[in-house]
Amino acid sequence: MNRKKLQKLTDSLTKNCKHFNKFEVKCLINLFYNLVGDVTERQGLAVGLDRNAFRNILHVTFGMTDDMIMDRVFREFDKDNDGCITVSEWVYGLSVFLRGTLEEKMKYCFDVFDLNGDGFISKEEMFHMLKDSLLKQPSEEDPDEGIKDLVEITLKKMDHDHDGKLSFADYEQAVREETLLLEAFGPCLPDPKSQKEFEAQVFKDPNEFNEV
């Protein structure tokens, strides 16, 4: 990509992104193209990270392990839902992912947890997300009993309008009361340590960030 085009891209992305400065955007763009590989841009075919490449980054760089959550994070980044994260989706996504305000992060997390995208986190969705969160005890007759109970107490804690599912309003209120509940159903944001490492590496000397 030529310098002029890069400059233009950087400028336009910086304008739309409030959490990164120009240098940081440039670093992220560089990183993006490093990750994608120097594929020449072809007409009609979006250049970007596919699901697997992105999940790899989430796993290795940010230490995420939950497959389902990683898929959901990919979908969150992939705004146009074309199975591929473009450079603008990358920068925008990371701005929330790394530096989003509480409001942005709440929105992001809620969307991650709302598996079917209907605007509510249902009991089933909760169960789905929490199903591996407890140690299975062979002694118990119904191994899922603990999970079901956990879903119930979570709902009791967060479902303020008592409709048996979490709306965004429910979720928002619960998180404002207790920030710890932001990632209530699984880690979908970077933990502070890996975030710090990532930022230090990328924004300091982007050329050294090789695909891991």
């Binding site: 790394l98 530096r99 509480l102 992060k105 997300m129 929490l130 591996d132 969160s133 407890l134 140690l135 005890q137 603990g146 109970d149 956990l150 107490i153 979570t154 009791k156 804690k157 207790e178 920030t179 710890l180 509940l181 932001l182 990632e183 209530a184 159903f185 699984g186 880690p187 933990d191 502070p192 340590k193 975030q195 710090k196």
Partner: protein, 980 residues
């Protein structure tokens, strides 16, 4: 000597092995009875076995008789003492050597030898310190023994009955009872044959009252007596009701010391026959005591057998009636309940450990430090225990649990089970589940004790503290939020410390996350309320880290950590101060805070921050200001100014802590001045009128008191009408306030204007009323204040009218020396200013004797004050005569050799006064008071000089005294003083 110990052959063993320097002298003296070869010396005298009684072969000498020993020692001349010492040291156990091993007194010798070894050490070390230590140790030991003997005497007087003695009594009486005229009783028997393992026959619910057993006694000449034997003694109870066999436990008669005494009282025949049997009875009793196992007499043996048999049958009976007996029934379930609970607990905790093992999903980064190891060891030990109890209680558990669960269910609140469930998820959940469980747990009312204890009882504390050791920030935050709340409970605090929670929290103080730091510091603040916790915080470097939290500037330079869980720097500092406040109650921690540079940081925070921050900061300062070096630092850091300013704050708690800090610091003259210069006195005076908050009032009056020690401050206080406020506070206030109020008034009354004000406001009466109190600090201050008031004749009239002098006089009997001294000081102006003082003093029966006897005190302040009082008392000739009769002269003379200038002055004055009666002048000379008095003239205190000169003038009227003075060079010194 030899005769004393019998035939010579007996002491075959007294030998002294010691390098002797007297070999040559032996040669020189050429003892008649010595056989001298080249290298050895032998005595001609020999024992039965033809062994010489003295045998010397350098460097050894063996002596077999005291006769020879004394001769050798005689030769040793100068070194006699050394030789004797060496001899004794070499023969640690002469008695055993002389009389044989049977008489060995190893124990005593060991004790002695320990002393000897210490003595050895001392002489070797030449260390004066260890010598002092040794002396102290010996003195302490003596004191110890003395105390032990004393207390033993007391204890032996209070011996109470126990099941053993009662049983013996009954058994013995049984032996002497039956049909016939010579027996003491017709019959005596227990109401029930059943006996508990502790030897009591009474049912457990009566045992609680101290009752041991019940006896039915049928004397020859009275109805059957039903007697209760209890620990307090023996008494008649309501008797046995026939139909149910139940005993009416109500006490119906007097309590007697033991059975025999009671029966003597109740039955004449018993008492008569008893006196005949007395000797035998006592003999038996003695035997019973001395040889419980031996069976000396046939009778006793047979009896014992019989009683054993009856006991056996009782045992059988008990086993048979196990199902029916109410008593055992009541006992059984509780026992079972205990075991099942234990088993339950063990089993569940076993499961927990298994869970932990499987579910180590939360990466536990436990460092391999010693506490960690200790925990591991403890765990393994617990596991062993579990296995043991598991195997033993398995069967019971299978039978009992449903029953127990229902029972427990009924008792425990529903929260208990919910919390138990949450803790289960904490243990077995991954990060997500853990966070959810933690958040839900916060929704319980954690301020409520049931919830706090429920968390602990289901093993939640361990899990919460374990979570602190993980890398998960969210888990740590959630865990700390809960710990912070439940650590308000003192029991939980101790549990947290026991589980090693403090070191972990101290480590978290280093975390880059400010909110974590805050929470950890706040939790430490809650937990660190007792000594062990203070120590734990300090030992793990917590103080330094907490002090570092105070430094806001440092936080600002740290890279800003972007996270959702952040807090303000101010908040961090506030939490740090809060934790330091808790920790600063220990002396070592105060020192640690100072060394970590805490004072400048606290001063910094004091200037910059908000009220809720100020309270812990001022609290810490106030706590620390008890130390001298802190007060200096507080002055140097200009903290006083800020403290004074904050007195005007709106916050009552803050005002309280500021006033407390000023109270502590105002011991120092310069600080008092600073308080005045910064306008603190006005603030204090205005706060005096605000009486609703007693704690604050105590602090404010305290600060007022300390500040009023400076004259200028008193003037200011008068200006601000503080005296009026103080007098108003003399009634209806708690003691801690009164102490300070009276102290302040005492200081104010040192000025004539102050005295007048107090009198005009009617302050004298409440002050006199306070003389009947018992609070020591209060009494000290009250006597001081009254003494100050009494200087003014008009006030004195009031005091006299209220009989204040008599009250003061009776305080001379107070056990505390400072109260005594205060009372004696206060009496001086009273006697000076009272009308008919002499008559008044004489009216106190035994008063003068009391005063004179106080001269035997060993407290300097008491002595000085009593001397001053005597000076005043002696102004009245008649009183002087009385105290002379009570022996004031020898007592005063005895005190003459003192170096304390205050005492010297008052003593000299007292002597000069007392000279005015009879032949007291001569008596002082006879009791050798003159020479020491002359030496007083070398003191630097002019008051001492004046008083001494006066005393010498009085004494010089006796010629012998003049000679003594002259011998001691009084003339020269007096002249030089005069010239100067």
């Amino acid at each position: 000597m030899e005769n004393q110990f019998g035939p010579l052959s007996l002491w075959t063993g007294l030998c002294c092995q010691h390098k002797l320097s007297i070999f040559s002298s032996l040669l020189q003296f050429q003892f008649k009875s010595l056989l001298i070869s080249e290298t050895t010396v032998e005595s001609e005298e020999a024992d039965n076995n033809a062994q010489p009684l003295l045998f010397l072969s350098v460097p050894q000498i063996k002596i077999r008789s005291f006769g020879q020993l004394s001769r050798v020692l005689h030769i040793a001349t100068d070194t006699k003492l050394k030789e004797a010492q060496a001899c004794i040291e070499a023969n640690r156990n002469p008695i055993a050597k002389i009389l044989g091993l049977d008489y060995n007194m190893i124990k005593e010798i060991n004790e002695d030898s320990s002393v000897v070894t210490i003595l050895d050490k001392i002489t070797k070390d030449d260390d004066p310190e260890s010598e002092i230590k040794m002396k102290i140790a010996l003195l302490l030991k003596q004191l110890d023994l003395h105390l032990l003997n004393r207390s033993l005497k007391h204890i032996s007087l209070e011996i109470r009955l126990n099941p053993g003695t009662v049983k013996n009594d009954v058994e013995l009486l049984k032996r002497f009872s039956g049909k016939g005229e010579k027996t003491v009783l017709e019959s005596i028997e227990y109401t029930s044959d059943y006996e508990f393992s502790n030897g009591c026959g009474a049912p457990p619910w009566r045992q609680i009252q101290g009752e041991i057993c019940y006896v039915l006694v049928k004397p020859h000449d009275a109805e059957t007596l039903c007697i209760t034997c209890s620990r307090e003694g023996v008494f008649l109870n309501g008797g046995k009701t026939d139909d149910e066999g139940e005993i009416n436990y109500e006490r119906k008669g007097e309590i007697y010391k033991d059975l025999v005494t009671l029966l003597r009282e109740k039955s004449a025949i018993f008492s008569e026959n008893m006196s005949q049997q007395e000797v035998r009875f006592n003999e038996e009793q003695q035997k019973e005591k001395d040889q419980p196992n031996a069976a000396p007499e046939e009778e006793a043996a047979a009896l014992r057998e019989a009683s054993a048999a009856s006991r056996r049958s009782a045992l059988e009976k008990k086993q048979i009636s196990l199902g029916r007996s109410q008593m055992t029934k009541r006992l059984e379930p509780t026992l079972n309940w205990n075991t099942t609970v234990d088993a339950k607990k063990n089993k569940s905790s076993l499961r927990d450990t298994q869970e932990e093992k499987h579910g180590g999903r939360l990466e536990k980064s436990r460092p391999s430090t010693s506490p960690g190891k200790a925990q591991l060891i403890r765990k393994s030990a617990e596991k062993i225990e579990e296995i043991i109890s598991e195997s033993s209680s398995e069967s019971e558990e299978d039978e009992e649990p449903p029953d127990h669960l229902q029972e427990a269910n009924a008792d425990l609140p529903s929260e208990y089970w919910q919390i138990q469930k949450l803790v289960k998820y904490l243990k077995g959940g991954n990060q997500t589940a853990t966070v959810i469980a933690l958040c839900c747990m916060q929704d319980f009312n954690l301020a409520q004790e049931t919830c706090q204890l429920a968390i602990r009882d289901v093993g939640g504390l361990e899990v919460l503290i374990n979570l602190l050791e993980t890398d998960e920030v969210k888990c740590k935050i959630g865990s700390l939020k809960i710990l912070k709340e439940i650590s308000h409970n003192p029991q939980i605090r101790r549990n947290i410390v026991d589980l090693g929670g403090l070191p972990v929290m101290v480590n978290i103080l280093d975390s880059p996350h400010k909110s974590l730091k805050c929470l950890a510091a706040e939790t430490i603040a809650n937990v660190a309320k007792f000594r062990r916790a203070w120590r734990a915080v300090r030992h793990h470097g917590g103080i330094t880290k907490l002090v570092a939290l105070l430094d806001c500037r440092q936080h600002a330079t740290e890279p800003a950590e972007r996270s959702l869980y952040e807090a303000h720097d101010g908040e961090v500092a506030r939490c740090g101060a809060l934790a330091l406040w808790s920790c600063s109650k220990s002396y070592a921690n105060k020192e640690a805070i100072r060394r970590a540079g805490g004072i400048p940081l606290l001063a910094q925070l004091l200037k910059t921050s908000h009220e809720n921050m100020l309270i812990p900061v001022v609290g810490t300062l106030q706590e620390c200001a008890s130390e001298e070096n802190y007060r200096a630092a507080i002055k140097a850091e200009r903290i006083i100014e800020t403290l004074v300013k904050k007195l005007n704050s709106e916050n009552k708690q803050l005002q309280k802590h500021c006033a407390m800090a000023i109270y502590q610091c105002a011991e120092d003259e310069e600080t008092r001045e600073l308080v005045r210069l910064h306008g603190g006195l006005r603030a204090l005076a205005s706060l005096l009128s605000n009486t609703d908050n007693k704690e604050r009032l105590a602090a404010v009056t305290g600060a007022t008191w300390k500040c009023s020690t400076s004259k200028e401050n008193v003037t200011k206080f008068r200006e601000y009408k503080a005296i009026e406020a103080l007098v108003g506070l003399l009634t209806d206030q708690p003691e801690e306030v009164l102490v300070n109020v009276v102290g302040a008034l005492g200081e104010c009354c040192r000025e004539p204007e102050g005295r007048v004000t107090v009198r005009k406001l009617g302050g004298v009466q409440p002050l006199v009323d306070l003389l009947v109190g018992t609070n020591r600090a209060l009494l000290v201050n009250v006597t001081k204040a009254i003494g100050a008031c009494a200087v003014e004749p008009e006030s004195m009239t009031i005091i006299d009218h209220l009989d204040g002098v008599r009250l003061l006089w009776s305080l001379l009997k107070n056990p505390h020396p400072d109260v005594k001294a205060g009372a004696a000081w206060a009496l001086c102006p009273c006697i000076q200013n009272a009308k008919d003082a002499g008559e008044m003093v004489r009216s106190f029966v035994g008063g003068l004797e009391l005063v004179v006897n106080l001269l035997k005190s060993d407290n300097k302040e008491v002595l000085a004050s009593v001397c001053a009082a005597i000076t005043n008392i002696a102004k009245d000739q008649e009183n002087l005569a009385v105290i002379t009769d009570h022996g004031v002269v020898p007592l005063l003379s005895k005190l003459a050799n003192t170096n304390d200038d205050t005492l010297r002055r008052h003593l000299a004055e007292a002597i000069s006064r007392c000279c005015m009666w009879g032949r007291n002048r001569v008596a002082f000379g006879e009791h050798k008071a003159v020479a020491p008095l002359v030496r007083y003239l070398k003191s630097n205190d002019t008051n001492v000089h004046r008083a001494t000169a006066q005393a010498l003038y009085q004494l010089s009227e006796d010629a012998d005294n003049c000679i003594t003075m002259h011998e001691n060079g009084a003339v020269k010194v007096l002249l030089t003083n005069f010239v100067v």
